[in-house]
């Protein structure tokens, strides 16, 4: 046991200060996509809906309905339309209201 004690002292503290302070390791986490309405055309939107394996996307004529809760941040949409989609860098998504996770993205791309 003294061995372990010494180890612990040598090892020092690794504990994050989160949530008091942001944690830098969050930067490399996969995050849901953020969309660029101006780059989104209906066709692109449909392509995204088709490619999403977790049914997180749905197009209501000029709205792209994005269920953040269902999104697995697999990055398929970003690969399908790199110009219109990039990572949102948001990982603090917990909510007490499921409906708050349903996002409506306007489709303003000129097709």
């Amino acid at each position: 046991m003294p061995l372990w004690f010494a180890r612990g002292l040598r090892r020092g503290v690794v504990t994050t200060r989160y949530p008091a302070r942001p944690d830098e390791s969050a930067a490399s986490l996969p995050t849901p996509p953020a969309f660029r309405p101006d780059r989104l055309t209906r066709e692109a939107a449909d392509r995204l809906v088709a490619v999403c394996p977790s049914r997180a996307l749905e197009r209501r004529d000029d709205l792209l309905v994005f269920d953040v809760g269902a999104c697995t941040a697999c990055g398929r949409c970003a690969r399908a339309a790199p110009s219109a989609v990039n990572a949102s860098e948001e990982f603090e998504l917990a909510t007490t209201d499921r409906s708050a996770l349903i996002k409506k993205i306007p489709i303003r791309g000129d097709a």
């Binding site: 046991m1 061995l3 372990w4 180890r7 612990g8 090892r11 690794v14 390791s25 490399s28 986490l29 996969p30 394996p53 977790s54 697995t72 697999c74 990055g75 398929r76 690969r79």
Partner: protein, 513 residues
């Protein structure tokens, strides 16, 4: 399909008439070096039974057409087949001619048979199956404590300790030593194989790698390789190396996690913390290198969709692995820890062979079985051809032996990652032909990969427009849970069970799928 094309994929397929099946199986089971790796059925106008044998030279698949829902009893000549016999019975209603009971594996008791048991309980709601439901429900695995006996059943689960998967143990104990153990895993059956039907390999991958999340890369790779074999395409070599890097990273973090679990089971909190520091750092390396802590979405049929950040790996991996190394050294110097591991949960090589165990569990008994050694099919994107693996084995077959094997493998993984990075990695994908799968690959193929739990097998059959008609996923957990109860029965007391479980480091998700 042409045998050359198959040989090129490291698989040989032979058709065996039902009459000869028992004899052939018995012969193969007796052949040294041959291991029954998997057995599965696929329905059609005539259901087909396939046995996958692992030989030194590659894999041998025997195909047998089954008439009348019955086939010769194989588990008597090749005991490893038992789990699959049960599963096939549940899924297809096909059973071996033997009158011996077949245990419930995946479908819950209240799934019930489609046709009610004559004079039995009324049919319950029927769950979708890959074939037709069995005539009568399978037997529940349980060891009834006869009142005459002096043992009782200690029920454990399905809701177990915090952060543990749902799994039911029946521990039959005399108050001290463990007399018998049996498992229920149907709490976690998500019907993955059933889901994959009718999907393209690309879509199916999403579910395939979630069949056993802690071996996402291995299962994904095996599945992708099967699809590629079926389509007769090969991933680019650089993509193959990318997969390999991911696979070895997966092995690393799993062995770190197993170490932490061992410490927890032995009550060595300091060791647990040390191992968890290593684990967390390894996961962060994964995230930094591949963009996902558990390496989801790296493997794609035809290649790899993500390329590792080489600089990050070169910079951070040694440090992260160093944590694990130092923790392991300290653990090996802690008697209170080592004493709990030694002579605990012993499996003999004979048992391992008989039950067809794989991975560190088998290697700890001295069997040098490793799917990465299967150097066949270089053009099938097998990156290990150029970078041979030094397989670590141990002799004792106890928990300590498994622990040592894991540590050795971790070191080997780091070395391999270095080699693969030097050889170059890339996120490339070979295009998969969507139409006319039959010409190139013959529409069906076998894929394999060595997860941290052992060999993962996948078999895929595609129809004309490249959609899956039958996909078989067999993670290492399926095999090794079979050895778990034997290990528990080997002269252990109650408190050894968590230690043994940690040393196997299996998932219920992989078993139940």
């Amino acid at each position: 399909m042409t045998t050359e094309a198959q040989a090129a994929q490291g698989t040989v397929t032979k058709t065996v008439p039902a009459a000869d099946l028992e004899r052939v199986t018995a012969d193969l089971a007796k052949t040294p070096g041959a291991r029954l790796a998997d057995m599965f059925a696929s329905d059609g106008e005539v259901p087909t039974l396939r046995l996958v044998w692992a030989l030194e030279s590659g894999y041998l698949v025997t195909e047998t057409e089954i008439e009348g829902d019955q086939y010769p009893a194989l588990s008597d000549v090749a005991p490893a087949a038992f789990v699959e016999e049960c599963e096939i019975y549940e899924q297809f209603g096909i059973r071996p001619v033997t009158g011996k009971p077949l245990n419930r594996l995946m479908l819950p008791p209240h799934a019930g048979p489609a046709r009610g048991v004559p004079g039995g309980r009324p049919p319950g709601p029927t769950l979708p199956r890959l074939g037709h439901p069995p005539a009568r429900p399978p037997e529940d695995v349980h060891a009834p404590h006869t009142v005459g006996g002096q043992a009782f059943e200690f029920p454990f689960g399905p809701v177990r300790q915090v952060g543990a998967e749902s799994l039911y143990y029946g521990l039959v104990t005399s108050g001290e030593e463990v007399v018998d153990v049996y498992l229920f895993t149907w709490h976690k059956h998500r019907g993955v194989e059933w889901r994959l039907r009718g999907r393209t390999p690309g879509q199916a991958m999403f579910f395939a790698e979630r069949a056993e999340g802690l071996s996402a890369v291995a299962v994904g790779w095996a599945f992708a390789a099967a699809a590629e074999a079926a389509l007769g395409v090969a991933p680019p070599p650089a993509a193959g190396r990318t997969r390999a890097v991911a696979l070895e990273l997966e092995r690393l973090y799993n062995h770190a996690a197993a170490t932490a679990a061992l410490c927890q089971a032995t009550g060595l909190t300091v060791g647990q913390s040390a191992a968890e520091i290593a684990l967390e750092r390894l996961l962060r390396v994964n995230a930094a290198a591949f963009g996902h802590r558990y390496l989801f979405g790296v493997v794609e049929p035809g290649g790899a969709t993500r390329t590792p950040d080489t600089d990050v790996l070169r910079r951070d991996l040694p440090g992260a692995y160093g944590e694990l190394r130092r923790a392991a050294d300290a653990l090996l110097g802690t008697n209170s820890f080592v004493d709990r591991l030694e002579a605990c949960g012993i499996l003999t090589a004979e048992q391992a062979r008989r039950l067809g165990l794989v991975g560190p569990v088998a290697r700890a008994t001295g069997i040098a079985a490793d799917a990465r050694l299967n150097a066949s099919a270089p053009q099938n994107g097998n990156p290990y051809v150029g970078h041979p693996v030094m397989v670590a084995t141990a002799e004792d077959g106890d928990v300590f032996a498994r622990f040592q094997v894991m540590l050795a493998e971790a070191a080997e993984s780091v070395r391999l990652i270095g080699e693969f990075l030097d050889a170059g990695t890339a996120a490339e994908c070979a295009a998969l032909p969507v139409k006319g799968a039959a010409e190139a690959g013959g529409g069906s193929g076998l894929g394999w990969a060595e997860s941290s739990r052992g060999e993962v097998l996948a078999w895929v059959a595609l129809d004309e427009d490249g959609r899956i008609t039958r996909a078989r996923l067999r993670p290492g957990s399926v095999r090794n849970w079979r050895g778990f109860d034997d290990a528990c029965r080997s002269q252990n007391v109650f408190t050894d069970i968590p230690i043994i479980e940690a040393s196997f480091w299996l998932t219920a998700a992989g078993m139940a799928r």
